[in-house]
Amino acid sequence: MTQLLLLFDVVLLTTLLALAVAAVTSPEPRRAVMLFIAFGLWLSMVWARLRAPDVALAEAAIGAGLGGALMLAAARRAAKREAGDSTESAGDSGAGGPPA
């Protein structure tokens, strides 16, 4: 039982670390956000493994869910602005900063 749980922990933690590294080093923002969502899911499972369902709940709902959706919107906006810079920023309400 304990050995199996240890193996479980090793698999869980290795992938968690790999995900964190992949998310931080990812050059493309939207890919980084997806990896971050996956990271949130994984971290939530770590909390579940530690028998802390309440923390796991919060991590999944806020960390991965809300945070992920918001960051996805932000990354999308950043990508749009980048694409718009080369041509023209049509319909941009100009809420953030002067045009480059």
Binding site: L4, R31, A38, R49, P53, A60, A61
Partner: protein, 87 residues
């Protein structure tokens, strides 16, 4: 008996880790989103196995949030471009 549950949970976890490759290689954002959804479903499977194995029935509530999370993130992701934003 609980050993078997944890063993299967490890198998699922490894399968999830392998599925992560799809998030890394893409190629389109939709592929990545899809892989993230697969993770959610497998994660629910892992939690369903862990709940009896660790003796924490409340893990099922976490699984419920996983299900909602998958639905919300896909809905946030598949937003349609509105006409005026079209380049």
């Amino acid at each position: 008996m609980h050993e078997i549950l944890i063993a299967v949970a490890i198998i699922l976890l490894i399968s999830m880790s392998v599925g992560l490759i799809r998030i890394v290689i893409g190629p389109t954002p939709a592929d990545r989103m899809m892989a993230a959804q697969l993770l959610g479903t497998s994660g629910i499977g892992v939690l369903a196995l862990l709940a009896p194995a660790l003796g924490v029935p409340a893990l099922m509530d976490v699984a419920l949030i996983f299900a909602l999370l998958a639905a919300v993130s896909v809905a946030a992701f598949t937003r349609r471009r509105v006409g005026q934003d079209r380049p």
